[in-house]
Point group: C2
Chain length 211, copies 2
């Protein structure tokens, strides 16, 4: 076998491996959305994918590795579908409005069958220790820091009053989205996202710098 | 055996039964606070209590009955430690301030080792069906209705503007407490309850009727 052919075969295997991994993570994500991160099981996942348990095991090794992969993928989706689109808006107040819009649409779209995995996983994991908890804490810290940075930009622009630390408004805005996800998933009702969007708007207004 | 003695024995058995049940639920509550409602197990609980699996099984019958008992007990605690004290304040704005104070103190006191069970259980159960999900949905509906009623009283008093439905402010207030619990449990930090209390105060102020 020439070196080139060997490399091609290796690339092919890696590609198939990557595809299996991506497909498995995407299935695991929906499963975690319904049953929680603890409800994830390599055996159940293999059955759902119609593959051998050993194949899933080979790709992830342990349940914890699988949990971390699900957290990483959910974080990637949050940043791709919520944070990235908001970067197209001007920094400051416009971006705070945009990130709220994008976040509400994301939660409302039911992209996850059983609701936002980061929300439920962070409450599920908060009383424990280990790699999955560390991954979720890091993801949520990144998210809170992103919101705080957007607020800090609006303060620099003179659009938001400097009365409080950026973290205060970030806390308030994050609370609205988390409550919207919770309300929507548990209690349903058409009013949820109407209330959440109004709440986002009012919260931004209440922090506006008065000239 | 006289009828009286027989009755005494029956009462004794019931009392012991009630005590076992109460002790088991209180242990199960802490376990659910850390491992989630799905993490509850009659076997693990029996080990923790140093009793036979059959004793716990006799008291609850199934894991679902145990989950419902834990939800009911947590709801009782929420109403006893948060809602009841606030009823001592005058209805209206004073009661809205009082219920916020009581709720923050309750969450801050770490009465649950792994955070508020109702918060985590409602996100854990939202994608499922069954008696446990129904119990948590009912508990949270009662809680939201309580907050809405307190807001409605403040509107009747002319203290809160009538611009929005009472449910809007109830949604915003609930969001603050849920986020405080989440932030405290996952990310820690001394600032959490300071931010949450300030947020509660500012939210009430922003709804005040302007004369």
């Amino acid at each position: 076998m020439t070196e080139k052919t060997e490399q091609k075969q290796k690339d092919g295997r890696r590609l198939r491996g990557d595809n299996t991994r991506a497909l498995t993570v995407s299935h695991a994500l929906q499963m975690a959305s319904i049953d929680g991160l603890e409800g994830l099981s390599i055996a159940k996942l293999a059955t759902a994918l119609g593959t051998a348990k050993s194949t899933v095991h080979a790709a992830f090794g342990s349940k914890e590795t699988l949990q971390v992969a699900v957290i990483d993928e959910t974080t990637r989706l949050l940043f791709k579908l919520v944070v990235s689109p908001s970067l197209k808006a001007d920094s400051g107040m416009a971006r705070l409005v945009a990130v709220g819009d994008a976040w509400m649409s994301y939660l409302e779209s039911d992209i996850f069958e059983g609701g936002c995995v980061l929300s439920s996983a962070s409450l599920e994991m908060d009383g424990r220790s280990g790699a999955a908890r560390d991954a979720i804490a890091k993801a949520m810290t990144d998210w809170m820091n992103t919101l705080s940075r957007f607020v800090a930009d609006a303060i620099s622009n003179g659009e938001i009053a400097e009365t409080h630390e950026p973290e205060q408004l970030a806390f308030e805005l994050n609370a609205i989205g988390m409550a919207a996800n919770w309300h929507h998933q548990l209690l349903g009702g058409e009013e949820t996202f109407h209330m959440a969007r109004l709440s986002w708007k009012k919260t931004l207004e209440s922090h506006k710098r008065q000239n």
